[in-house]
């Protein structure tokens, strides 16, 4: 699903944020991405969602070398991913409902199906009353949940979530994690970047730890023994 081969990333003339990352994420796997603030978690996810090109090395997604893809193919590949951005990136003039419906519209889903899927999902994350609310009228945690709903509504093959629980309390955080678990059970490859150590400790998933620009895999067992 995701394969990185000695991948490095620098922004402009700055230092290498990632230097020589080699990794392989199996289809249907679930990883936590951890590391200090500024370690490069968001940058790593940005590579995977084709928001940034690697400075060197090879990145394979869905079995294809992304460096060899045309613009059209990259667009199509992006549609198979769901992304929760650290800063949400909701569209300000669209309601919560419309924001979540967007990925379905882009792939040309039937309006009827869109309606039921979106309403259902927003109810699940506790926003049944906010379907017609604009993002600016939602609280921070509500916005974050809309962002998550938008990422998962299209049942993507690859789900990338960047700090998806930073603005909600632990009870809602758990509820959101169940959503990711459910996606995972249905075959989606999931990567969740987070600082929330309590959350990481509660689940039996391997961690990818970013430190000094390199990625280290900490298997689920060791992780469970460690901080949890």
């Amino acid at each position: 699903m995701v394969r990185l081969d000695d991948v490095a990333l620098r922004y402009g003339q700055g230092p290498e944020v990632l230097s020589g990352v080699t990794s392989h994420l199996e289809p249907g796997s679930f990883h936590f991405l951890v590391g200090q603030s500024g370690a490069g978690k968001s940058s790593f996810l940005r590579l995977l969602n084709l928001g940034q090109r690697p400075t060197r090395g090879r990145l394979m997604l869905f079995g294809r070398d992304v460096a060899r893809l045309g613009r059209e193919d990259r667009a199509l590949m992006r549609r198979r991913m769901g992304v929760v951005f650290q800063d949400f990136r909701l569209i300000g003039h669209l309601t919560a409902f419309e924001n979540v419906a967007l990925p379905l519209h882009l792939v040309g889903e039937r309006p009827g199906a869109i309606d039921s899927k979106v309403s259902e999902l927003l109810s699940w994350v506790g926003l049944a009353d906010c379907l017609d609310a604009l993002p600016a009228t939602l609280s921070g945690g509500q916005q974050q949940r809309v962002a998550i709903a938008r990422a998962v509504v299209g049942r993507p093959s690859l789900l990338l979530a960047d700090e998806p629980t930073g603005n909600v309390d632990d009870r809602i955080a758990m509820r959101l994690m169940f959503l990711f678990e459910e996606m995972h059970r249905n075959g989606t490859t999931v990567v969740v970047a987070t600082h929330n150590e309590t959350l990481v400790g509660r689940f039996q998933h391997p961690r990818l730890r970013l430190e000094g620009g390199t990625l280290r895999l900490v298997p689920a067992e060791a992780a469970a023994d460690g901080t949890a």
Partner: protein, 314 residues
């Protein structure tokens, strides 16, 4: 192990609200609500209006200058003073015609009749210019051979020596200034049309850039969600075309009304100089081209600006 239980996400549960209730979809780029939607049509209307006036003015000036010019290029006029009676005048004219047709470089000659002469002088002498009893100089139009510029050498001197009552007139001296004035007006009109085009393109680039900048976050997001460049560009293009069409039509109607009014003014008086300034069918056709042109310029500029910006995205 992750805790399970009742807290499982929904699977096939029917939606709470009736399906279809939210089907009317708003555009993901609300360009039609931007400030530009209220600005652009008016500016385009103004520009099309200006271009229309300048175009018709320029074409009119061109026709005027061309008429004067073609009337003058390769042409001379010889005046013959009227004699004491019609017989004498006729003899003089005959002598002049003989001399002219025998001259090298002269292709043809034509004596202007009383009516042509009267029409020329009417604004100054009034209707009486047509009266037979008024002794006027006879005018002879001389057409020169193609390629001959100015007065054939020696012609003026021979005329003066042989028929003192005849006088060679090289119109350039009198109408030259008028023609260069008309040509200047034409140049200014052309400059205005070109400037209007440039202003339209500039405005469209600016409005599109502004739209890109106002909606930058949305556009980047759409891009990252897998929207194609042409999907985004298409929205800008369509929006620009719609606004330009609206403005173009308003401008066209305004220009048309003004020109129609002007034509009425010109036709109500019968002045000889003016008719060539009033719009001809060709002018009206040129006017009709302006709105589609504005739409095309708007759509292409918007598309080009957006695509150029989008290719910078990864």
């Amino acid at each position: 192990m992750a805790p399970r239980g009742e807290k499982t996400p929904p699977a096939g549960r029917p939606a709470a609200r009736p399906p279809g209730s939210r089907r009317r979809r708003r555009r993901d780029l609300p360009l039609a609500n931007d400030a530009s939607a209220r600005y652009l049509p008016w500016l385009i209307a103004f520009l099309v209006f200006l271009a229309g006036l300048a175009l018709v003015g320029g074409l009119g000036a061109n026709r005027l200058a061309a008429r004067w010019d073609s009337g003058l290029a390769g042409k001379l006029t010889v005046q013959v003073m009227p004699g004491q009676n019609a017989e004498e005048t006729k003899t003089r004219v005959g002598l002049v015609l003989d001399l002219l047709t025998a001259s090298k470089g002269v292709a043809s000659v034509e004596v202007l009749d009383r009516k042509q002469l009267g029409a020329l002088l009417e604004p100054w002498l009034g209707a009486s210019a047509y009266e037979e009893s008024l002794p006027l100089p006879m005018l002879i139009d001389v057409t020169l051979d193609p390629g001959v510029e100015g007065v054939p050498p020696g012609l003026a001197e021979r005329l003066e020596k042989e028929i003192p009552a005849a006088h060679l007139d090289d119109h350039q001296r009198y109408l030259g200034a008028l023609i260069s004035f008309a040509r200047s007006l034409q140049l200014i009109a052309l400059a205005v049309v070109v400037l209007v085009g440039a202003a339209t393109i500039l405005t469209l680039i600016f409005v599109t850039r502004t739209g890109l900048s106002v909606h930058r976050q949305t556009i980047e997001l759409l891009h990252l969600m897998g929207a194609r460049d042409r999907y985004v560009a298409g929205q800008f293009q369509g929006n620009a075309a719609r606004l330009a069409l609206r403005g173009g039509l308003v401008g066209l109607v305004a220009a048309g009304l003004v020109l129609y009014a002007l034509e009425r003014v010109v036709q109500s008086g019968g002045a000889g100089l003016l008719p060539s300034f009033s719009p001809t069918p060709v002018d009206w056709a040129a006017l009709l081209v302006l709105p589609p042109l504005a739409v095309a310029v708007a759509a292409l500029t918007a598309r080009w600006t957006v695509l150029r910006t989008l290719t910078r995205l990864p």
